[in-house]
């Protein structure tokens, strides 16, 4: 993997691209990578994803959701991307499922806990690096303890920096000695909660040991993923990240997985973060929200926009308009708010599928707008639009949970659903 910077401006982000080694395919940064569950984009088969975009995607595989298929992959003649239906994708391997809240604790000596569908698994450096060698992703993150958030104690923060340093010493050694991993780019983890001091220690280690070996950086430990990522204290986050990015050289890509809200992503992009994932789009879809925030700087109308549309809202029952007028996604071209509201009420699987199609489309277009704005030097205008949506107050982008779950039960026998509604 090669990283090329095309344009850089200190206060207004940077443009560049990642180059996949074997195919020489380019992936523009700021890059939105598709987060996956069990190797698939949540709710979408490959066939359906092809309705969203014709572009070759960058996929973020999460070890906690694919750990159980690693053994099978050894017998498969092809890449992990091909195994999950995307032979041509750029693959990134991270450890945690950025879509879901991760339980705190369980950090024992020499292992990190991995919460998989088989329960809690213990990951050692050896086991982790064995897995990376099997999966051979284009990019993988180093093993780290990232179990911190705004409330973490000083002790926990110091512990996670120390443990990460230990894990990474072993990861670097293994990476250096492995023939297989020569083609894989390693992203060094930067941890340390909201302590600039701890983050600096983590960076110091990454620089000292990983200067030659690490091809990029991944920042974790600001939240516990899932919806907690869209509730981060953005001021604190930006303060710490500003400090971190000043300590790091420009030449390596920086990645921040998790469901950060659009305004927070923009702030981070203007600081120089290059790679994000689609977990915000997923979290919105799985909580029955369609993304509707406006990122079109050219719109003349002064009407304010809502960040999302609550599909559960009864007022949509007979609203036969698309989620967003003029949106070109399949959902908006072919379906109405009323239909999505119906699919919500009947707990039909097509509901989140259509929402995911729309939300991904929306986020992907948002990211192309970001790239355009950086090129045109007007990222600050976009930031303002996103923050205020043409209103006078900052818009709240955090996602509140909706507990209605699409049941996997036999829905043809409808009495189960009817009983639910009776409650």
């Amino acid at each position: 993997m090669k990283f090329v910077i095309e344009k850089i401006s200190k206060s207004s982000g940077r443009l560049g691209y990642l180059v996949q080694t074997e195919t020489e395919k380019r992936f523009r940064t700021p890059l939105l990578v598709q987060t996956t569950k069990g190797g698939s984009i949540p709710y979408l088969s490959r066939e359906v994803f092809d309705y969203v975009t014709e572009e070759v995607p960058a996929l973020q595989f999460t070890l906690s959701t694919i750990d159980h298929m690693v053994e099978s992959l050894k017998l498969f003649n092809g890449t992990f991307g091909a195994y999950v239906g995307y032979p041509e994708c750029l693959s990134l391997l991270i450890i945690r499922d950025s879509c879901e809240l991760i339980p705190s604790g369980h950090n024992d000596k020499d292992i990190i806990p991995l919460f998989t569908r088989r329960g809690k698994e213990h990951i050692t450096v050896k086991r982790y690096m064995d897995t990376v060698e099997t999966l051979k992703p284009d990019i993988y993150q180093g093993l780290c303890d990232a179990d911190t958030n705004l409330e973490s104690s000083k002790k926990r923060i110091i512990k996670c920096v120390d443990r990460t340093a230990q894990f990474m010493d072993a990861c670097y050694e293994r990476h250096q000695n492995s023939k297989v991993l020569k083609k894989c780019a390693l992203f060094a983890p930067i941890v340390g909660g909201y302590s600039t001091h701890a983050r600096c220690e983590s960076i110091k280690h990454a620089k000292a040991k990983g200067e030659k070996l690490a091809n990029g950086y991944i920042f974790e430990g600001f939240h516990n993923y899932g919806l907690s990522a869209c509730q981060v204290d953005s001021e604190q986050l930006i303060k710490v990240m500003t400090h971190c990015l000043n300590e790091l050289s420009d030449d390596k890509p920086k990645m921040m997985p998790g469901a950060y809200t659009p305004p927070v992503m923009l702030e981070l992009i203007s600081l120089g973060v290059d790679i994000f994932d689609t977990s915000y789009a997923y979290c919105a879809a799985s909580n029955f929200k369609a993304l509707t925030f406006n990122f079109n700087l050219k719109t003349v109308e002064n009407a304010t926009s809502q960040p999302f549309l609550e599909i559960s809202n009864e007022s949509l029952k007979e609203d036969f308009t698309p989620l967003i007028r003029d949106c070109s996604c399949l959902t908006c071209r072919k379906h109405t708010r009323a239909y999505l509201n119906h699919l919500y009420k009947t707990k039909e699987l097509l509901g989140p599928i259509l929402l995911m199609i729309h939300n991904l489309h929306h986020m992907m277009h948002f990211f192309s707008t970001i790239c355009k704005c950086i090129a045109d030097d007007n990222l600050p205008d976009l930031i303002k639009l996103i923050k205020f949506q043409r209103g006078s107050l900052a818009v709240d982008y955090s996602i509140k949970p909706n507990t209605k779950i699409i049941s996997k039960n036999d829905q043809d026998k409808n009495y189960t659903i009817l009983n639910d509604d009776q409650k």
Binding site: S45, E47, V48, S72, R117, E318, L343, T346, E348, N414
Partner: protein, 405 residues
Amino acid sequence: MTTKVPPLTYKVIAECSVTKARAGLMTLRHGEVNTPVFMPVGTQGTLKGLLPDQLIELNCQILLGNTYHLGIRPGIETLQKAGGLHNFMGWPRNILTDSGGFQMVSLLKLAEIDENGVNFCSPFDNSECMLTPEHSIQIQNTIGADIMMQLDDVVKTTTVGPRVEEAMHRTIRWLDRCITAHARDDDQSLFPIVQGALDANLRKQCAYALIQRKVRGYAVGGLSGGESKHEFWRTVNLCTDLLPKEKPRYLMGVGFAADLVVCVALGIDMFDCVFPTRTARFGCALVNTGQLNLKNKKYEDDMRPIDEECECSTCRRYTRSYLHHIATSQSVSCSLLSIHNVAYQLRLMRSMREAILRDQFPQFVCDFMAKHFEGETVPLWIREALQAVNVELPHDENDATVNVA
């Protein structure tokens, strides 16, 4: 004034020279339907986990919707305002709706039937409601399906005695009320339902009465409800003998592969069943030899597609191994297996149709049964049903060994 094209025209294109199978072309307001046809069930205005575009990609020409469910949600007012179900769900092709009666009787334990209609307790507020033939037609007129079903008096297939006869006669009386209530005969076709449980005499009486009415096709109802296969095929065979050749015949609720092949041979044109999509949700994939339960550990390292010969988007991209790992745990597996299973059903119907067109249907039946029951004995009822339409399945080795022993 020019005469309007009727909302349903049906033409037999080819007849099998041995069995009663036929290939036809049914033209409805939302496009053509090649028969014999399998109609996937989209109960609540969606086929579980599939986009309309994907169904079109599979060349699905007609879907089934359930009146009972749609009447509750989104409700007829919303459907009226949406301009019917086609618009509401974004499905440009044909739809068939049932009458809602069957669901009431099967889903609601408290349903009671009298001459006026089906009495039931609303599942929402426990108030007493009634579904009359007029009401069912009114809802179906609003849904706007290309084919609608009459409200029938459903009794459990295995019921015997005067209740069966009463239900049969009532079904005919209700048909007349449905015909009278039907307000959109220029766009929608109402199918009556042959009832009479397993009683040949009652089935005959019913069929004769229905034939007197002006309708464009017929359904055979009250089967697939716990009767023996022996009784099942005889009743189907009797009904196809009784019903006119020039109109389509729909056998309700049948969809297992072997049943489809037998019933096509007996002269049925249309089928529906929830089985292919329901079994997909439990991690099962349909193949010629039956079904693969992909949850089974033996598929963990199986790098073949579900079916080497299948051209569906799932078989083109995914291995059994991957499907094993995500079956039932990732919702996308439900979409992937539903695509395959619907593709399987449609392909089976297409190959039967092609065999009929080439007049090689009996050979198709023999080949299919040999593969489907590979290593097993073909059930006696299938042999007998096929014998009734002049197809003698070759005796397999298992039988031979039994004979020798």
